[in-house]
Symmetry: C2
Subunit: 395 residues, 2 copies
């Protein structure tokens, strides 16, 4: 009775649920503290104290009808203004409230922008490995996701293949920086090269190609790595941001899109994004949370906790002989499967009470993703079990 397009997704979702239930089953047998679940990107670091303080202050001081009521579909003007000013201060940009559309997290923002720009069978390019939901977000609007194969030495874009895949149908390129699932951060040089290729192809093809920068992990970077702000490198850039990780608010569904004035057809794009937010059923980003993030623009989650996890897991696993990409950002570690079939490897790990996600789910077969947004103890206690797994794998 469900739609044809949902049949495969429901089947796939039961695979994920099986994994989840397997975790629960293991926890029941061995105790939750003896199951090492690296499968979920759900932050374990709490929201900074400013968040709950802001919630209470706002509720105590703001007019209830305005606070919980409808506002412009793009969000409260004062909130958008505060965000624009904060971005300008940090990245030397020159946005104002008209450039900001508040969204239901980054997922809501990406759907809003794809609805805004995609005609049926338009192509959106991304680089493998990539966040698996991109496939759904693009197909929601009858677009086609085109994947550039992974460079398995650096996990940075293969530029030649990228350039070759841009054609008349290419409407957008989406990058995720810092990257889920690899933890790689694209440097300024990488961004410049991407921008150069896109500029060149726009001229050659006489089309406009949007660069969509999906940045929920922007604030989670380590070792002083910096994440370039993309609107400065390419005019047709749209930024999708979320507070899910930067303020540990994934359940609250709050983020924004930046639509710069430099973009082609900027006025219509802004209005269309606002209309898309409405007609997709978001209507507007949750009102209280809009006010909250505006009050917490300088608040930070405890990134050091993630960094401590990162080091312990990366060092522990490499010492055991596993081949890992050293994460520079986000809270994921990308590890080579010692056997060709990454699902087989995940199943072997499960027998040691270790849960990981096969890289195939991200268009990166032969690898696995470990989400280290878990307690430090989980990491420390998991290492002896990884040691057994390594031995079993002949490392």
């Amino acid at each position: 009775m469900i739609a044809d397009s949902m049949v495969g997704l429901v089947k796939n979702s039961s695979v994920i649920r099986e994994m989840f239930e397997e975790g629960n089953r293991l926890a029941k047998i061995y105790g939750a503290e003896n199951v090492y679940d690296f499968s979920l990107g759900n932050p374990n670091v709490p929201a900074p104290e400013e968040v709950n303080k802001a919630i209470k202050e706002i509720v105590d001081t703001e007019d209830s009808v305005l606070l919980h009521g409808y506002m412009s579909n793009s969000g409260y003007e004062d909130v958008r203004n505060a965000i624009a000013r904060s971005l300008n201060k940090r990245f030397d940009t020159h946005f104002n409230e008209s450039n900001i559309v508040m969204t239901v997290g980054a997922a809501g923002g990406l759907n809003t922008i794809f609805k805004t720009i995609l005609n049926p069978s338009d192509e959106v390019i991304t680089f493998a490995p990539f966040f698996g939901e991109y496939r759904n977000y693009v197909s929601n609007y009858n677009g086609k996701l085109v994947v550039v194969s992974p460079d398995v030495t650096s996990f940075r874009p293969k530029f030649d293949e990228f350039e070759a895949k841009i054609n008349k149908k290419t409407r957008a390129v989406i990058i995720n920086n810092p990257n889920n699932p690899t933890g790689v951060v694209y440097s300024e040089d990488t961004i410049k090269k991407i921008a150069d290729i896109m500029e060149k192809k726009q001229k050659e093809l006489g089309t406009e190609i949007f660069l969509i920068s999906d940045e929920p992990y922007r604030e989670l970077v380590y070792d002083g790595v910096s994440v370039p702000y993309l609107t400065k490198y390419y005019d047709n850039t749209i930024v999708g941001y979320s507070y899910s990780k930067s303020l540990s608010l994934p359940g609250e569904r709050i983020g924004y899109l930046v639509i710069p004035d430099e973009i082609s057809d900027a006025e219509d794009m802004k209005v269309a994004a606002s209309v898309a937010t409405r007609i997709l059923g978001f209507v507007n980003a949750p009102s209280l949370q809009q006010k909250v993030v505006a009050k917490c623009l300088d608040a930070k989650v405890n990134v050091e906790a993630y960094d401590k996890n990162r080091k312990a897991l990366y060092e522990g696993l490499t010492k055991l002989g596993f081949e890992c990409v050293k994460p520079e950002g986000a809270f994921y570690l990308w590890m080579k499967s010692p056997v060709e079939n990454d699902t087989e490897f995940c199943n072997a790990a499960k027998k040691h009470n270790i849960l990981m996600v096969p890289g195939s789910s991200f268009g990166g077969p032969g690898y696995v993703r470990l989400a280290y947004c878990v307690s430090y103890e989980t990491i420390v206690n998991s290492l002896p079990h990884f040691a057994e797994l390594a031995k079993e794998m002949g490392l």
Copy 2:
């Protein structure tokens, strides 16, 4: 540069913005208190006190990581359980948490269910006049909205036309009870007749046809009118609910879907709705607000305030010779335009500082909608201006 499907919507949106700007322009000239804006369905009655109290209590007592974190895409199990139990108590149903999917308002819920069930070119039937967004929600999934013409004496469904319009392509019927824009409430007899026709057609055609009950105005009813709970009359019913009006929380985007066990293919439907919530970019309903509504299941907005407005406006306008449908629910009054062209009538009203929405926007030409979720003073003070308008119209 925007998608073809968005071009018309952007143009239409500028008409609405023009109206909005006209309101602002008039307010600047004459003072906001001298502009009678009946155009927006934004509740002016504040949320009950329980809401802000619940927000603060939850923030003070719940674990931050769980409170602001991801949960199942369908929502917190305890919240869904509390809602199911509350429905069972009120309507003698027998739901449990598995029947409830928390959604980003009713708009999010309707999009979720259309994504779940619609194949391209499937038809969804509704009764004019209807909430204009249905057209967008259905076309988001490449479906086709089929409209049953209005019965302009009762504004209740024309059953013969309804039956004639059901065919092999009919996937769903959506009703809005109490109705926006007419304020009409369908009685049990009307619901039974709709259900009978649908049962008959299901058998005749050998298809499953879903009845979607869009009920954001369920709690706003007057004169003791009761709103039938549809799952009791027809097995293939899905209910879409929202707290936007019942708790005056439209900006917070919180509501739910009910998918009963009696529905065809219930297990797959529940999973598919949960997956649809995820892939459409909602991911889950805002987490804090889920907890809030679970704590406020017995709270009520001040319906008496709307009722006072309803009486004053209905009596005032009918006394002046305007022909109005007496509202039984919601906070809208549906009035016949004294001239054939409803847009022309709205333009004439604007000259008297009165803002209304042409019925054409709801598939009901020749009528206008007045949203009386405004202050009582606005209504009282508007009446002398309506009197001038009536005179001008020759009433």
